[in-house]
């Protein structure tokens, strides 16, 4: 019984440390060297809303309807850094400057495709996470 309580306490403590961020893309670059396709989506200057990226540090990140499992951690230089290499190589960082959280993400695939994006984030918006 005591062991169960201890396990529950440990689970609760790790859950409490998980952080969530909801991020909005402002700019996006698709670079496909295979077919020569290059696209720049500058949502910010067009005054449009870019895509949403959700980061759950205990789980990974979500783009569209898909969760991508990723190892996320705090570093000395960043608020959060997530990295994975399941489909290619992804590195996602959230940094803070003057109280504003912003993110940078790069995903590369098969040495021919890179998707780069940046935008801003808010921390812990549980209602949005139920999307």
């Amino acid at each position: 019984m005591k062991k169960s309580l201890l396990l529950a306490a440990l689970l609760l403590s790790s859950a409490a440390q998980a952080e969530t961020y909801v991020c909005r893309e402002e700019v996006l670059v698709n670079l496909n060297a295979e077919d020569g396709q290059l696209t720049v989506s500058d949502y910010k200057s067009r005054n449009e809303l870019g895509g949403i990226l959700i980061i759950d540090t205990s789980r990974g990140y979500k783009i569209g309807d898909s969760w991508f499992e990723s190892e996320c951690k705090n570093t000395a230089e960043t608020v959060v850094t997530c990295e994975d290499s399941t489909l290619g190589r992804t590195k996602l960082t959230v940094t803070e400057e003057d109280g504003r959280l912003s993110f940078l993400m790069v995903n590369t695939l098969l040495e021919r495709i890179a998707v780069l994006s940046s935008g801003y984030c808010f921390k812990d918006i549980p209602n949005l996470l139920r999307i």
Binding site: E26, E77, S102
Partner: protein
Amino acid sequence: MKKTLLLAAALACSGVAQAEIYLCIPSHYGSVSSGSASAKEYDKYDDPDRYAILVDTEKGTKDPEDLAAEFKGGCETVSFKGRSILTCERSIDRFTSSLLTINLDDYKFMYTARLLEYISSSAGTCTKT
């Protein structure tokens, strides 16, 4: 410019017999920073040799715009989904790093350089010297 690159590659070769040297010329480039983005396909008027990356598998990579600088970082060959990939990582300081991956089957490469608030990627083809 090409002569300079080849000379740099030859000098790099001469020192270490076992090292493999690659000269990587980008064909495509993209970048994002806080609130701005750009992408382009290089043509001959852009002189893509300017952005060439020199790789010494024993010593790492050279900064594309400073071939006089020392090689930095380290390289290793890994197997990924049945492909043989040379990866070279370089960390300049706590805020600046780069990753180069070369598919050793066709010598296509992707180079990504990161600062805290800036990322650029370039893709192209390497030549083994």
